[in-house]
């Protein structure tokens, strides 16, 4: 079986290099989790461009909604005898979960033949390798997280973007006094709280500490972890955070901001897709998560998305041709233009591409100043710990004085999960 795969791979590489590209033929199946209108339209555009380039390939393109894709579909794809040939997925631990079980195809040859090592920064290269150093993933785009806010409300109250924690609290107080919900928050899905915990921990204890924590090396009962919650509690106890967050999906909470009831929101840049396009330029802006301890190195979050080929894929040559195309400068520019996602390739001229989108420079600047970039709580730690951890954070929001018992429970869970 292994041999066969290699044979196919060699054949694929040979065809890529030796023959004219348009000679490729046969089927190619691509399953994507990009189910929202904008990303889906982009996906279709990319597929069409690829079809034009390789008219001999019969391409089948399927879309599954995001949640279903990652919670259910991907399992059956990878286990089936006839999986799709190319799949969307996430860099880092999520990818490693598959590569460590030999479920992802080695695409080192694709990396080499496209010279991606020259244009993809080292950090992203590391995210794309399995434990033995082979490339199994193609990262294409990422986005930043930040505190988004209503520019017009800030202007009306004469507020400035807070840089430090104290300024952040002061701004929150003024907003609250003026009758606004200072910070929108959502916990119906628990992941937004993963973001809060990530940032607070990185600002209080530094990103290296946070990395060790998500790797399961530090107990949740460590006093340094508890300190994180004293800062979080300041927001909860002063009612700066939206109350009852578990009643709101993240879109519900974003709507509070769109309606002008809430002023700030810790979110990924995809909030822009939810915000009315004609109002975003005048109303929506963001700032870096405030600094708590200036002595601590700065960590940021930039979840990275990309593609991989399942180990059992049948149409390897075509899949690799498609991967080469997906990783090309051409597609990276298209993605940047259409979706506003940051390209992983550093030879894409972001300055000219995003000329009319000044906020992108701001986002890039935030990431540039970071000492360490994390993926996200639910991508950095193992799935079960992520679920239990984020449930614990949600519980903290409604029972802030129970912090000791919450952390003790998380620690019991951590010991159990990481000993397995």
């Amino acid at each position: 079986m292994r041999r066969k795969v290699w044979l196919f791979a060699a054949l694929g590489a040979f065809m890529l290099v030796g023959l004219s590209q348009s000679n490729l033929s046969g089927p190619l199946i691509y399953n994507s989790n990009q189910s929202d209108p904008k990303p889906r339209a982009f996906d279709t555009k990319v597929v069409d461009a690829f079809k034009k380039k390789y008219p001999g390939i019969q391409m089948e393109f399927n879309t599954v909604d995001h949640e279903t894709f990652q919670d259910t579909s991907i399992r059956t794809y990878l286990a089936s005898n006839n999986p799709p040939d190319v799949l969307t997925w996430f860099a880092g631990n999520r990818m490693r979960a598959f590569s460590s079980r030999d479920l992802a195809m080695d695409i080192t040859d694709v990396w080499k033949s496209n010279n991606w090592e020259k244009v993809v920064p080292k950090g992203f290269q590391a995210l794309s390798k399995d434990s033995s150093g082979k490339y199994v993933f193609l990262p294409v785009s990422y986005y930043w997280w930040a505190v988004y806010y209503r520019k017009d409300i800030f202007a009306k109250l004469g507020l400035k973007e807070p840089k430090t924690w104290d300024e952040f609290l002061a701004v929150s107080k003024k907003l609250k006094d003026a009758g606004y919900i200072p910070i929108a928050n959502a916990a119906k899905e628990t992941w937004p709280q993963g973001g809060w915990f990530d940032f607070l921990d990185m600002r209080v204890n530094g990103p290296e500490f946070h990395k060790d924590l998500t790797d399961g090396k530090i107990p949740y009962t460590d006093p340094r972890v508890k300190k994180v919650f004293t800062y979080w509690a300041q927001l909860v106890n002063n009612k700066y955070l939206l109350e009852n967050p578990a009643s709101y999906t993240w879109q519900d909470a974003a709507n509070l901001m769109i309606q002008g009831k809430a002023a700030m929101y810790l979110m990924g840049d995809f909030i822009r897709d939810q915000y009315p396009a004609d109002r975003a330029a005048a109303e929506l802006d963001f700032f870096r998560f405030p600094i708590i301890d200036p002595k601590v190195p700065i960590g940021e979050e930039a979840p990275t998305d990309g593609y991989f080929i399942p180990a059992k894929a049948k149409n390897v040559a075509n899949a690799k041709a498609f991967m080469s195309f997906l990783g090309s400068k051409e597609v990276a520019e298209m993605a940047a233009q259409d979706l506003g996602r940051l390209p992983v390739r550093n030879d894409v001229d972001v300055k000219t591409l995003f000329k009319d989108k000044p906020y992108v420079q701001k986002g890039i600047a935030i990431l540039d100043q970071a000492d360490l970039i994390m993926q996200f709580y639910d991508r950095d730690t193992v799935p079960e710990m992520a679920r239990i951890g984020m449930d614990g954070f949600v519980r903290f929001l409604s029972q802030p004085n129970q912090v000791d018992s919450i952390l003790a429970d998380l620690e019991t869970a951590r010991k159990r999960i990481f000993s397995q």
Binding site: I29, D36, K38, S73, A79, P83, Q251, D252, I258, Q259
Partner: protein, 289 residues
């Protein structure tokens, strides 16, 4: 018993009697209207514009009504193709489940044999099974049989899984048919298949109709199994198409409700076509074994 099981007019006779206390009836009406609120909400929402809904809220009086959501849902969700797939899955699965379960029920009731109770128990146990348990094992089975990502996987699984409930209900219906009917047909020279076909099935008709309504709804509304057993868009049923409307980034409620209502129409049609049997006939057998 067969006479009361199949005859309808009994209810009409009761109408002559004086009705219930008007106060009680009033309470029933209030609750009936309360029960309909979610439907009214859904229907009104499906005719609203996104902005109208966002600025005024779900339960406000709409300013303008539009059919646009239905048009968009139809186009965006690829409803027409998905709908066809749904029928291609539901109808064969329904036919197999109903045919096989009535055969099973006939076999269990007509013949006395030692395994009869264990087999019945096996069906009842299956009826009580939380089906999420089976997701991965069934997937592996379909994969092994090389029917993963074909409609056959869904058709065969649905019909097998629904056999449990159908056999359970039909066996109890079948019990209400007097045994002597079968015996006298046998003496007249009919074989078992003819008895099943000509005597048992016609007598079961109301029960079968009721069962078909329920089963149609359940199989048609399935979402989970389609995810696990299919990966190609061109095979997927309407429920998964709708799931793609449920965006990660945008919650366009009017669009989603319109799509959901389109998806509910077939089940509603089946329900209204067969509701006479359903409301009046279900479990007549099951309740009097």
């Amino acid at each position: 018993m067969s006479a009361t099981a199949t005859a309808q007019p009994q209810l009409r006779v009761r109408k002559v009697r004086k009705g219930p206390n008007p106060w009680v009836l009033g309470v029933v009406w209030v609750f009936a209207l309360l029960w309909l609120i979610p439907f009214v909400g859904a229907i009104i929402t499906s005719f609203r514009t996104f902005d109208d809904l966002n600025t005024r809220g779900f339960w406000s009086i709409p300013q303008e009504l539009t059919l646009n959501n239905f048009v968009r849902a139809w186009n965006q969700a690829g409803v027409s193709r998905y709908l066809l797939n749904s029928f291609e899955i539901t109808l064969p699965a329904l036919a197999i489940a109903i045919l096989f379960s009535s055969m099973c029920a006939y076999g269990l009731v007509r013949f006395r044999f030692r395994l009869s109770t264990p087999i019945y128990l096996m069906f009842v146990a299956g009826l009580m099974l939380p089906f999420q348990v089976l997701l991965l094992p069934v997937f592996f089975l379909a994969n092994k049989l090389h029917i993963y990502d074909t409609l056959w996987a869904l058709i065969l699984f649905h019909s097998a899984f629904q056999l449990a409930f159908c056999t359970f209900v039909l066996r109890n219906f079948m019990k209400t048919i007097p045994f002597s009917l079968f015996e006298s047909a046998l003496i007249d020279g009919a074989n078992e298949w003819i008895i099943f076909r000509r005597i048992a099935l016609p007598l079961l008709l109301p029960g079968l109709a009721a069962l078909a309504t329920l089963e149609f709804t359940w199989i048609f509304n399935d979402y989970l199994w389609a995810i696990v057993l299919l990966q190609s868009d061109q095979l997927k049923p309407i429920t998964t198409g709708l799931a793609n409307l449920r965006g990660q980034y945008i919650s366009d409620w009017p669009l989603m409700v319109a799509g959901s209502l389109i998806a509910t129409v077939p089940t509603l049609i089946v329900f209204f076509a067969l509701q006479r049997y359903f409301i009046d006939g279900l479990t007549v057998g099951a309740t009097k074994g």
